[in-house]
Symmetry: C2
Subunit: 311 residues, 2 copies
């Protein structure tokens, strides 16, 4: 099969590339840890071309990129759209890399300019574009990660959103705080553990006490002989529960909930929502971002594919 | 003046020693960073004797200690009292170091065995003993720090308490999280800054959104050109406000509030309480712990001082 375009999700710490056919099929895929942190030093163009070469991509194959490559400290700044932002506006505001042999476009992020709680996203807007099937439905999307995003979508637009530092706090607390003595940082979260469940429920019920509940992990080790695995599960549960509880207050509702996540993270959040009796539709995050990049590529690379472009 | 006893506050990261006269006057004082972390390696006895020698303390001068020296991983474990714990019981449950030329006593900490949110303190109970003038009044004490304690006291007993990881989170986030790009970690908090005030109010009003509000520091830098100093002040304000807001929910009231703190920390919390229109009585933390150790020393070292012991 001949590729129609390449799609890249360029995050802070990861890089993911797909070659996609005219029919929308993934022909080949590459993953690496050459995220923004690495690329800012090694050069974005070099990394991209190396991966395209490795997949024997044609020299004129166009590339659609989302994520941190469009940050100010990235490859080329793709200025933020402001909320409320129509998902369809994302494609129209792509920026193009000058002086390249092939067409390379970077999609913009989205910003909320609230004076007290400003917020930004880069990459998640593309997943939302990809996931967005029914443009009239109002829903709340949860995209968990290092910096989890909760996004309210209505009539095909990002109305408001909020970032929760769940993943980053988890890593910091497990490895660098006093909790490291009470948490086995080399473990995997056991989502069927009662300590995970207790954590989710306590974090959700009293998210305002999170900085206090965290310390109970240390006390639980000292007083109740809790193991490092128990502590790890409880830490995860508390932070995830606090995120869901905080989002409930922030958005005033948790109806029509969509979880956009993959792999282990998807199963952790799925379990948390189940424990809290919150119905949720789960969507694969990798597929969603690939679909979003595909929508943008089909719109912007039409000429490249010619009349057979499957539009 | 001849010393009657020595008093030591042995924390996780600091060591503080006083020689006190029969009349209760401080004759000499030593401070060092030989807290638990250092002492567990170098030896508690050696560190203590070195400092006593440096102050030319008599070989039979008794020493009253509180804090982490009494932890399981400390010098000798002084088992926790359980809440509700009468402050007067603290003295009666001191443990004594065997085989020492001088009498050396370590005061116990206090534990809450709540199955879901267990909690522990070591050192703060001694400050509360020292501060405790009027045994019939019910009040809420705030002892800020790496692990801030909020303690409900009634009829001379610790009824319940809660630890907030405010200071530790502040250090971790300022130095090791994505916020480090938006926070000047070498700065001092400007408590008159509008960003400190905004942080205190946002943290207090919506403590359940703390893990989200934190990220707004990064977004504020990207979107609003906030400086590292602004970010530092806001980070401090958010975490202090979240602590006070969480404590308000936890204890259901914030009447009869006592702030037990010293130096810069005292002024930060004083400012926060003022911003929130919460009346508070401020007590010097160093004096409080010294007074607590003094009460214990006078009770337990009576024989040493003879009839002139000022009892």
């Amino acid at each position: 099969m001949t590729p129609f375009y390449a799609a890249a999700d360029w995050g802070t710490s990861t890089f993911r590339l797909w070659l996609v056919s005219t029919e929308g099929q993934v022909i080949a895929e590459r993953n690496s840890d050459q995220g923004l942190a690495v690329a800012a030093t090694s050069g974005f163009a070099q990394i991209l071309e190396d991966h395209l070469d490795a997949l024997a991509a044609p020299k004129d194959l166009p590339v659609m990129i989302c994520g941190m490559a469009g940050a100010r400290q990235g490859w080329r700044e793709a200025p933020y759209l402001s909320v409320p932002a129509a998902l369809s506006d994302i494609c129209d505001n792509a920026v193009e890399i000058d002086g390249s042999q092939r067409r390379i476009c970077i999609l913009p992020g989205v910003a909320s300019h609230d004076p007290v709680t400003p917020d930004v996203m880069r990459g998640e807007e593309t997943s939302l574009l990809g996931n967005h099937a029914d443009s009239d439905t109002m829903y709340l999307a949860c995209l968990p990660g290092t910096h989890s995003k909760w996004v309210q979508i209505d009539e095909g637009a990002i109305v408001s959103f909020s970032t929760f530092m769940t993943g980053e706090l988890f890593g910091l607390l497990a490895k660098h705080s006093i909790l490291k003595h009470a948490v086995d940082g080399h473990s995997q979260i056991h989502r069927e553990s009662r300590y995970f469940a207790e954590g989710v429920k306590a974090g959700y019920s009293n998210p305002e006490e999170i900085t206090s509940h965290l310390f109970s992990i240390r006390a639980g080790q000292l007083l109740q002989g809790r193991t490092g695995q128990d502590g790890y599960d409880r830490l995860s549960g508390l932070l995830v529960g606090c995120e869901i509880g905080g989002a409930r207050v922030r958005f005033g509702q948790t109806e029509n909930l969509r979880l956009i996540a993959s792999g282990h993270l998807a199963s952790i959040y799925d379990t948390a929502f189940e424990l809290l009796d919150m119905p949720v539709t789960t969507v694969d995050a990798h597929q969603a971002v690939l679909d979003g990049l595909g929508i943008a590529a089909r719109r912007l690379f039409r000429s490249h594919a010619g009349s057979g472009g499957g539009l």
